[in-house]
């Protein structure tokens, strides 16, 4: 069959990186800094709740919006931790991770030709999913402002076709996050232009140096915010696939319409386990966070000693160093590092084509592996000289 695949899908994946990934997956004994998830297993109490739910026969569909007890627990969690109020009845939707929530949001919002602002470097899905939904992604390069979107840059890029801004903080791939003051300044622009802020805060609980500030906790933003979060990163539950979206009734209702036809509902086992996670509270999250913070210091020190420059991450478990000093393209660097030293990193261009001198490294690794990876990178650089 000729041209069986839709053009917009054909155009989606930057091909160079796919080849690199195939190379990694075919090799053994690789120390991988190329992962996008915690190295911890989901805490036992949470796994046990999932197992128990199966034993008790919870194997059916749930309501499209998700289990009421989970929506209720999310509502309480947001209120008690951040003072943000969302009604479990019609302002919260349980999704298959934040990924589905991003997809639903963009499909629910965009008409052909609508634009979405995506500060770059950005998580890989925002641009392609915007395009799939018929919209156009407007990328803003943030590398001159510490990988943070500035109010002036945002203001300058908004025209009458811009419907939404996607924020993600702490950020994947940079680990950079925003202070309250910076968010207040961005808020002014969002309100001034009457656009929606889709805020992906899946790493919010993993903020190291100060308290995380959810966008909808800023006064006057609730009607202009779609807040996305989940259980994957904070509770180390990536494989369970449970996330959620909170926002104005009208938007949640529109997203639920698509969700009911495409997904129906999130797996009940995952939802039961997620409810238990919130029941346990922050203790396991804080323990893992302290561990990530210690590893951050290890990798920052190690990379500095190797002569890399970077903006110090303040959350999540990624760092996005520059390899400009080597004069190499990130794809060549990553391929060489993998082939010669068996260390996998993600080429920076995965998060924006212009970032040819960047790499994303995930430091959710044991101290031993982290130190060994740094040692091998040192060898790699020495052999290059």
């Amino acid at each position: 069959m000729k041209d069986i695949i839709a053009k917009k899908v054909k155009d989606m994946q930057p091909s160079g990186i796919r080849l690199f990934f195939d190379l990694v997956l075919g090799m053994d004994d690789v120390i991988s800094l190329g992962v996008g998830e915690p190295d911890f297993v989901t805490p036992w109490q949470i796994r046990e709740a999932g197992i128990t739910s199966l034993e008790e026969g919870y194997t059916s569909y749930t309501s499209n919006k998700g289990l009421y007890k989970l929506r209720m627990a999310i509502s309480r969690y947001l209120k008690s931790n951040y003072g943000v109020e969302y009604s479990p009845d019609d302002e919260i939707l349980i999704t298959v991770g934040v990924s589905e929530a991003v997809d639903l949001a963009l499909r629910a919002l965009l008409n052909p030709g609508d634009k979405v602002i995506v500060p770059q470097p950005s998580y890989v899905s925002y641009g392609p999913v915007t395009e799939l939904a018929g919209g156009t992604a407007v990328y803003i390069d943030t590398s001159r402002s510490g990988f943070k979107l500035t109010p002036a840059d945002l203001d300058r890029h908004i025209d009458s076709r811009v419907k939404a801004l996607i924020l993600n903080y702490p950020s994947n791939p940079t680990g950079v996050t925003y202070t309250r003051k910076e968010l207040e300044a961005l808020k002014k622009i969002v309100l001034k232009h009457n656009i929606l802020c889709i805020t992906d805060e899946v790493y919010g609980d993993l903020t190291f140096d100060f308290e995380h500030v959810p966008f909808p906790s800023l006064s006057g933003t609730k009607e202009h915010t779609l807040y996305l979060n989940g259980f994957s990163k904070n509770y180390a539950m990536t494989g369970w696939r449970v996330g959620f979206a909170c926002g104005p009734k009208e938007i949640i209702a529109a997203m639920t319409k698509i969700h009911q036809y495409t997904i129906m509902c999130v797996s009940i086992t995952g939802q039961m386990a997620a409810a238990e996670a919130l029941h346990i509270g922050r203790k396991p999250v804080d323990e893992m966070k302290r561990e990530y913070r210690r590893r951050r210091e290890l990798i920052c020190d190690g990379l500095s000693e190797l002569g890399f420059t970077f903006f110090k991450p303040q959350g999540a478990f990624y760092i996005y160093p520059s390899i400009k000093s080597t004069g190499m393209h990130c794809l060549d660097f990553a391929r060489g590092l993998l082939e010669q030293q068996k260390v996998a990193v993600i080429p920076g261009t995965a998060f924006g084509e212009r970032f040819t001198d960047r790499l994303r490294m995930c430091y959710a690794l044991s101290y031993e592996d982290l130190k060994e990876a740094l040692r091998r990178m040192k060898l790699y650089l020495e052999n290059k000289r």
Partner: protein, 161 residues
């Protein structure tokens, strides 16, 4: 708990240099703090957690949990008799506990007979010891927070966003 202790409790081999890196402190400062913990007896010793199930040599050991009922001594309570009990090298651990008996011991020996002999000849005849119940351990699943099984395989895929 101090983060230095949190780190060392998980892995006692992390160097002061690395701890210093992780906590943004000078190695000398970490060494000083650790030395103080050692001096104050907060850190008692450093040891390896060994999975004896995997050692196939002839020096394997048996362990028993032993409940001991004792008569407390006037003015001295349980401490004096506990000291006499735990001073035996066979006693690996000794706890005073609430409930139907008083001391809980973990006793080690090279075989069943040597433990039985210790109980019969040393422990039971002791003054103030009213009775003992011996439970031989059959299998160890978890010890001091460590689950005793072969190293787990890596379940994460090497590349993900």
């Amino acid at each position: 708990m101090d983060e230095i202790l949190e780190i060392l409790e998980k892995d006692a081999r992390v160097t002061p240099e690395d701890i210093g890196r992780m906590l943004k402190k000078k190695p000398a400062e970490i060494k000083k703090t650790v030395a103080k913990y050692e001096k104050d007896g907060v850190i008692l010793k450093y040891k390896a957690v060994i999975n004896r199930e995997l050692i196939k040599d002839t020096n394997s050991q048996v362990r028993a949990l032993i409940e001991v009922n004792i008569t407390p001594q006037k003015d001295l309570g349980f401490d004096k008799i506990a000291e006499r009990v735990y001073s035996f090298p066979e006693v690996a651990s000794c706890y005073l506990i609430s409930g139907t008996y008083d001391l809980l011991l973990i006793v080690e020996g090279k075989d069943l007979h040597s433990v039985a002999k210790f109980v019969a000849e040393k422990l039971s005849p002791m003054e103030h010891v009213k009775g003992v119940v011996t439970h031989f351990m059959l299998k160890k699943y978890k010890e001091d927070g460590v689950i005793l099984k072969q190293k787990e395989e890596n379940k994460r895929i090497a590349i993900s966003y």
